[in-house]
């Protein structure tokens, strides 16, 4: 009895969380011109149509670039920081940790606005650079945290052993530490990529005519597009994410790092 009601709660929660995806997927598969569920006949025409829309192609590519560059940058800075926090007696350690994790605490929309007002407008910083700055800062705390997790799995004396065999500090880092945190770094890259790719609030103020990320474009299009194209696009994005996550879980055990 208890079991049964437990599983029905579980099933209902799953339906609530995942059901809507099936509904947009179905709506996106519609052969008709209107966004409705159940769909009017089945076809892939909207999935094909969406690929033809120049605007979405451009913003999709920008989102990709942005996610790759800012996650790469955040790892480039985050790995040394995580390493220092794990291995060195860093002065003002807690203050530093707080500063680096502050992008998690400050709501992203505020960062976007602040960057617009105090970097883009007065300094003439190109919007794309501001986007990269904002996204990199936003992803940095995740990079530091995920890499820290994998560093705790590597004992310090392993590095010391390398040093006693003649390696320098940096030699030990590149030959011993890096290969052992490679999976953690890939997990961090995937999580950072997804975070940046899906990010809306920080980009909100930093995009404008001619330069926009995919989620922002989708938000804009929702207001005047009533055909199933956005549903098809949403479905494609969801499928892409699911694929990446499943692959990462298989290869890296991604959920250990979340």
């Amino acid at each position: 009895m208890m079991r049964l009601s437990g599983f029905s709660i579980l099933a209902l929660a799953m339906l609530f969380l995942l059901g809507p995806f099936f509904i947009i997927a179905a709506a996106g598969l519609s052969a008709g011109d209107l966004l409705v569920f159940p769909p009017q006949g089945l076809s892939l025409r909207w999935f094909v149509a969406i690929l033809d829309i120049e605007r979405f192609r451009v913003s999709f590519l920008l989102s990709m670039e942005l996610a790759i560059i800012s996650t790469g940058l955040s790892l480039l800075m985050g790995v040394p920081a995580a390493y220092a926090l794990a291995r060195y007696d860093v002065p003002f350690r807690e203050a530093m940790r707080t500063i680096i994790t502050s992008p998690v605490i400050v709501p992203a929309i505020i960062a976007g606005l602040a960057l617009l007002r105090y970097a883009v407008i007065p300094l003439g910083l190109p919007v794309i650079s501001a986007l990269i700055l904002g996204h990199t800062a936003l992803v940095a705390p995740y990079a530091v945290r995920v890499v820290s997790v994998s560093l705790t799995h590597l004992r310090v004396d392993v590095e010391e052993a390398a040093i006693l065999l003649g390696a320098t500090r940096s030699g030990a880092f590149f030959r011993i530490v890096l290969p052992n945190i490679k999976n953690g770094m890939m997990a961090a890259f995937i999580l950072g990529f997804i975070t940046s790719f899906n990010q809306v609030p920080v980009s909100l103020f930093l995009t404008g005519p001619g330069i926009s990320t995919l989620p922002i474009d989708m938000l804009g299009a929702m207001e005047f597009v009533y055909d199933p194209s956005i549903a098809a696009l949403s479905t494609l994005l969801a499928l892409m994410t699911i694929l990446i996550v499943l692959l990462a879980e298989r290869l890296l055990g991604l959920s250990r790092y979340v």
């Binding site: 010391e160 065999l165 003649g166 390696a167």
Partner: protein
């Protein structure tokens, strides 16, 4: 450089913050010797090894290796090997690559690297395991990889930090004799850290006993075994019955035995090994608390006015039952005399 001072530590102190883990330690090791560093958990053995290897800075003191001051030489140039208590194998590298790591750093040519690694792996009996990862090996095998990895680069000094502590009793004995053979064959100077006195006695040319960060006695295995100087070392060496000498007799924290101590002036305490305590006759009375059968002997726990004593008698001798009142003797001829701890 005299041969008796290959490694020379002078008045070394090492502190973690305000807490001194090693205090005023002076020590020297001759070339080719195996020195055992013996002491209870937490006495500073690992700390001292890490400092010698260059992984910890000295708070005070100096050290030389082959006459050269080591203090300013960084750890990666000291040519001192350390086999860690935890093995510290490189998790992502195969047995072969673990062993070859140090050689590759020295930019030797490929055939020499291969040759020497193979020899070292064979020396520790792991031929055939070259392509395994550390996690695919047993504790004893990992241990041997760690050893091979350290000796393959021919360090001038090899430090072994309780290398056998994670192994079961049989494997320990086995590895102990392998180590003995390796030391003999290679002639590397070694410092061997342990808290097992049997291991120290079996392996070492010299033994240093530490307690709370200080050295309390140094000597050959015979010296320490026959002539421990303090109650602490005596207990470590199997003199389990230690009693203080006072004008009123022999005293422990629990009580005292009347004993003619006039002849024992300037002696702080006396100690007896369990098998030297005589049961069945003698001036003192005690009560058997328990008996445990050890095969060729029986060990009794004896309750006396001066607390509990450990007594061992041959299995062939008369048996005593728990709660039995019994006479016993502490023969002066078998006692060793001790100074204050």
């Amino acid at each position: 450089m005299s041969e008796s001072q290959f490694l020379d530590l002078r008045d070394i102190t090492i502190a973690y913050g305000a807490q001194k883990a090693v205090e005023n330690v002076s020590l020297s090791v001759a070339q080719g010797q195996l020195l055992a560093l013996l002491g209870p958990s937490g006495c500073g053995k690992t700390t001292l090894m890490r400092a010698i290897a260059g992984l910890l800075p000295l708070t005070q003191g100096s050290m030389t290796l082959a006459g050269r001051d080591l203090t300013r030489v960084p750890a990666n140039r000291r040519e001192i090997g350390l086999v860690f208590q935890s093995y510290a194998l490189f998790p992502h590298l195969s047995v072969f690559d673990n062993v070859a790591f140090g050689l590759k750093l020295r930019h030797l040519d490929k055939t020499e690297i291969e040759e020497r690694s193979k020899v070292a792996i064979a020396m520790v009996g792991l031929t055939g395991f070259e392509h395994r990862l550390p996690r695919e090996l047993s504790g004893g095998q990992q241990q041997r990889v760690a050893l091979a990895r350290s000796i393959v680069v021919r360090p001038r000094l090899l430090l072994l930090d309780e290398p056998l502590s994670n192994l079961d009793a049989r494997l320990r004995l086995d590895m102990r004799s392998q180590l003995h053979r390796l030391h003999h064959d290679l002639g590397i100077t070694m410092i061997y850290v342990t808290h097992d006195q049997a291991e120290a006695l079996a392996l070492a040319d010299r033994i240093v006993v530490m307690r709370s960060g200080k050295i309390i006695q140094t000597g050959t295995p015979e010296d320490l075994y026959e002539r421990p100087q303090t109650g602490f070392v005596a207990r470590f060496m199997g003199f389990e019955n230690v009693l203080r000498v006072t004008s009123s007799g022999l005293v422990s924290d629990e009580g005292s035995l009347p004993f003619a101590t006039q002849s024992l002036q300037n002696i702080h305490a006396l100690a007896w090994r369990p098998h030297h305590v005589q049961l069945g006759q003698g001036p003192f009375k005690g009560r058997i608390l328990g008996a445990s059968y050890q095969g060729d002997s029986i060990e009794y726990l004896l309750d006396t006015p001066a607390g509990h004593l450990k007594v061992q008698s041959p299995a062939a001798s008369p048996r005593y039952q728990p709660a039995q009142e019994i006479a016993f003797d502490l023969p002066l001829t078998h006692a060793i005399s001790l100074r204050e701890d």
